[in-house]
């Protein structure tokens, strides 16, 4: 029997965190979130359009569906921008959870580890519960945990690339050393990528593009949910070790001789 995912002091029955961006429309978004069984979803903080403030805000839809909200600091390049964005998110949404994202350049969208560490330190001091998007580097992950982050979220591969887990060995190393939830964030392309992450012992996955940009986002969300479930169960069940030679499945004793 599995236990729920615990982030800070909050419990989640679902181990899949879904992004809410890039869907064809809000109807598909909401159906995909439901099909995926998501309980925690990410949002961004952006300027209100002063010339047309009347459009339906997605947040009211998310709240109506009882989804819990994880704001991000996407698009921030500096600690200052990330801290102000987090403070605005806390004010707008009334949550102290924050997905801390400080990127270094727009080609790779790779996290700037130095700034992520500094941003995490400042935000934790200000009372935030920080889930940092970070490199798949065991040392950075350890430092983030030591600072008091409530989870670590290393990338599988660059955001939106769909290349899956490029360095499963590092994810494995991070798993061995990390006690807070380990959530693979970014890079998932399809269901098998999610299963690999969960089989390695990750506590959860965070994905967006792989679902939102699939031909059928609702069906893909369901596939991802099954993939999380399959990978998690395989991890808990304990896989057989890999070996270089075959081992017969059928008994060796009692074979006939003709």
């Amino acid at each position: 029997m599995d236990t729920p995912l615990k982030i800070g002091d909050e419990l989640f029955g679902s181990r899949m965190i879904l992004g809410t961006s890039k869907y064809p429309n809000n109807d598909v978004l909401m159906r995909a979130l439901k099909a995926g069984g998501a309980e925690l979803v990410t949002v961004a903080i952006r300027r209100v359009n002063l010339n047309d403030p009347s459009g339906e805000n997605v947040i009211s839809l998310l709240r109506k569906s009882k989804l819990r909200i994880l704001p991000n600091t996407a698009g921030c390049y500096t600690v200052k921008d990330a801290v102000v964005t987090a403070e605005l998110a806390r004010e707008a949404l009334g949550t102290d959870l924050i997905k801390l994202e400080i990127i270094a350049d727009e080609d790779t969208l790779y996290p700037d580890s130095e700034k992520v560490l500094e941003g995490a330190r400042v935000l934790i001091e200000k009372g935030f519960r920080v889930l940092p998007y970070c490199n798949d580097d065991p040392i950075t992950c350890r430092k983030l945990e030591d600072l008091g982050c409530v989870a670590v979220m290393p990338l599988g591969s660059p955001i939106g690339s769909g290349m899956g887990l490029l360095n499963p060995y590092n994810i494995n190393l991070i798993r061995e050393k990390t006690r807070v939830p380990l959530i693979v964030d970014a890079g998932v392309g399809t269901a098998s990528d999610v299963t690999v992450a969960m089989e390695l012992g990750c506590d959860g996955v965070l994905l967006n593009t792989a679902v939102a940009r699939a031909k059928d986002p609702v069906l893909m969300a369901e596939a991802m949910r099954n993939a999380v479930d399959a990978g998690r169960k395989a991890f808990l069940a304990g896989r057989i070790p890999r070996r270089f030679h075959a081992e017969a499945s059928s008994p060796q004793a009692g074979k006939i001789a003709v």
Partner: protein, 72 residues
């Protein structure tokens, strides 16, 4: 002392009829219906909701009015 103030809101220049509070300014912009979900910072400092009636805007202030939207 000019009766109108020039400020920058979400990157755009705006003119205020006078020294409004943050709360009055949101009503002036017809954003009152969004109040539950918006956050405001002035010159890089986040203004807590409880302080909206008390904090007055000044000439040349840089104001950001944000809300949550779709994100990954």
């Amino acid at each position: 002392m000019p009766s109108t103030l020039q400020v920058t809101v979400n990157g755009e220049p705006r003119e205020l009829p006078g020294a409004l509070s943050v709360g009055d300014f949101l009503r002036h912009l017809r954003l009152a219906h969004l109040e539950g979900g918006v956050a405001v910072c002035v010159n890089g400092e986040v203004i807590r909701r409880a302080d909206w009636p008390r904090v007055t805007l000044h000439h040349d202030d840089h104001i950001e009015i944000v809300h949550a939207t779709q994100g990954g």
